[in-house]
């Protein structure tokens, strides 16, 4: 059964300024689980994480324990990298998690690195997160001084090193292979997969890349057991979920909520309803890369599998009458993504909002693949004129065609991330776009 709304796993120390220091963190029970974990065999930690059904909180929702299991047994050098490059528009949880509880992340990394037998490990933090970099660098220094990091940790023979690596401004570095290239000192351009990082990643070695929130859940799983964590969640998704609610609600915020809470509950019960007494027009369920929900789709649970398969969510169409094919005839509904829930009210200018999303992707395309480099800029240009009221007949068909040409045809998922919301908004809010074009004709 999902938790009630008062259960706080990773946000328990929010608001406590002392928890940021080693003394404060230890006083609230911090690093106690580390001692337990260091006495465990690495494979037993991985087994608990597998049993927990912890799924990646960065966007893809991949099972963390399964991912760890992809590292070839006996690999001499393995790396664990924390992806702290949070930059998916609408998402603001990792920044808060790092700011309030940096040692929980570090403890999670040490335990996870032990499980993976990884010695040299890195936190890749977004360049613009300057306050959080300072907080994290200080916490890492404290952990070294206390003997929780370094060689022969607490006399157990385990070695874990941790380095905080600053980015310098590039959304694409949130993509795990671009992140690894950036860590290696290259331009942040994604790599062709396979090989996947778990087999060949940083410096050519097997590498696991996990999100901040994902790693912060690991100490709790080791402390209380994978079955306990799984029991808190819903279906095949264990634990709670950090959700960032922004846009047109009365009380936006970052909340740790039960896995599977519905969007209607999030908006009405957690966030005090839509602002100004208005109604919902659209909800972006997990960062702008994800196709939107409309006002009739708010009773679906915010959970990884439900958002992909719940038949109450209408499939994304390439054009009226032609369903988007995610592969093997599978429909694209939406995905839970990064936890960034953006609410758009019924006064919202949808084509203008979509233009802003397209402007973002055009700015952030790394330029490596032609469909994305050219396509995102082209979509931005056409979306802008539609939003401006200077669109032409045929522009909506053109936008569909460009988006469909990008999707599935690029090295990384940024192309899909631009195409899916474009098609999703056109599917569910076509009348809003048509009205803009007719406005010009009139």
């Amino acid at each position: 059964m999902p938790t009630d709304r008062t259960t706080k796993l990773v946000s328990a120390r929010f608001g406590d300024d002392k928890a940021r220091t080693m003394a404060g963190y230890e006083a609230s029970g911090g690093y106690a689980t580390l001692r337990k974990a260091l006495a465990m065999r690495p494979e037993d930690i991985t087994a608990e994480v597998k049993a927990s059904n912890l799924r990646g909180r960065g966007g893809a929702g991949f099972a963390t324990g399964v991912k760890w299991g992809f590292v070839p047994p006996g690999s001499p050098k393995v790396h664990l990298v924390c992806n702290a490059d949070e930059s998916e528009p609408g998402t603001c949880k990792d920044r808060e998690l790092i700011y309030w509880d940096p040692h929980l992340l570090i403890e999670g990394m040490i335990i996870s690195a032990h499980a993976l037998r990884a010695h040299h490990n890195y936190i890749y933090i977004r360049g613009e997160m300057m306050r959080e970099y300072v907080v994290l660098a200080k916490a890492v220094e404290e952990a070294y001084q206390r003997g929780y990091l370094g060689t022969n940790i607490l006399g157990t023979g385990v070695t874990v090193h941790l380095t905080v690596h600053r980015g310098a401004g590039a959304y694409i570095c949130g993509e795990e292979t671009a992140l690894l290239n950036s860590l290696e000192g290259l331009r942040g351009q994604p790599r062709l997969k396979p090989p996947f990082p778990a087999v060949k990643g940083l410096f050519g070695n097997p590498t696991i890349v996990n999100n901040v929130e994902t790693l912060m859940n690991v100490p709790l799983i080791v402390d209380k057991g994978g079955a306990w964590f799984n029991g808190l969640g819903m279906g095949r998704s264990g634990g709670t979920r950090m959700l960032c609610v922004s846009g047109h609600v009365e009380k936006p915020g970052v909340f740790e909520l039960p896995m599977g809470i519905t969007f209607r509950q999030i908006i009405d019960e957690v966030c005090g309803g839509v602002w100004k007494g208005r109604k919902v027009k659209a909800v972006i369920p997990g960062g702008v890369s994800m196709p939107p929900l409309d006002a009739d789709e708010l009773d679906v649970p915010c959970e990884f599998d439900a958002l992909q398969t719940d038949e109450r969510i209408k499939p994304v169409m390439v054009r009226p009458g032609e369903q988007f094919n995610l592969g093997g005839g599978k429909a694209l509904r939406t995905m839970a993504g990064s936890g960034g829930v953006v609410v758009l009210d019924d006064h919202c200018d949808i084509p203008k909002a979509v233009w802003r999303i397209m402007k973002f992707f055009a700015h952030e395309s790394c330029g490596q693949c032609t469909p994305c480099r050219e396509g995102t800029g082209w979509m931005e240009k056409v979306a802008r004129r539609v939003a401006d009221g200077t669109g032409k007949p045929g522009d909506l068909e053109l936008l569909s065609s460009i988006a469909h040409g990008i999707a599935g045809n690029t090295i990384c998922a940024l192309g899909d991330a631009a195409a899916w919301p474009m098609l999703g908004f056109l599917t569910k809010f076509r009348a809003d776009f048509e009205a803009k074009i007719q406005q010009r004709a009139a």
Partner: protein
């Protein structure tokens, strides 16, 4: 070569080079070295890039390629304090463009422009969406900004500058 890193910067770079023992080169330190160069010289001139290349034993072309990929690096001089004002979706929905316009008016700068004191950047999402519209200035965040608050923010930053270099 006309530029040199300060003693503390040299030490910092040397210490960082130890943190990537599996790399087989000093390449992973290039972002940190560029951040340091920008802090010490204000911007990344050709000479600053040459210095980073020589320090890390990398080709100039590689350092140039990296420096021009990431948006936080600037090749031209800028202001002491950089205001990164977000206008992405969550900020836009709560009038972030009006706040950006208020910054432009108060500073007498268009987005992307600089004077000696300030650089104004229209930033993509800075991960403070629950307090939109928002801006990040070095280690300081300005949250729930309205156009009416902009004047006081600029005055505050004028008396207490927040250069990004203080973080490096």
């Amino acid at each position: 070569m006309s530029l040199e890193f300060s003693g503390p910067a040299k030490q910092k770079i040397a210490a960082l080079c130890e943190r990537y023992p599996d790399a087989g080169s000093k390449k992973p330190v290039v972002l940190a070295a560029l951040h340091l160069a920008q802090k010490e010289f204000g911007h990344l001139s050709d000479d600053a890039l040459r210095l980073v290349a020589a320090t890390l034993e990398l080709p100039y072309a590689h350092v140039y390629g990296v420096a021009t990929f990431y948006t936080m690096f600037r090749r031209e001089p800028g202001g002491v304090t950089t205001i990164r004002m977000c206008t992405n979706i969550s900020c836009m929905l709560r009038d972030g463009y009006d706040v950006l316009a208020a910054f432009e008016q108060k500073l007498g700068l268009k987005k992307g422009e600089s004077n000696k004191e300030f650089t104004l950047v229209e930033e993509e999402c800075i991960a403070a969406c629950a307090n939109a519209p928002c801006a990040v200035v070095g280690t300081k965040y300005f949250l729930d900004i309205t156009p009416a608050k902009v004047s006081a923010i600029v005055d505050e930053l004028r008396s207490a500058p927040h250069p990004e270099g203080e973080v490096v």
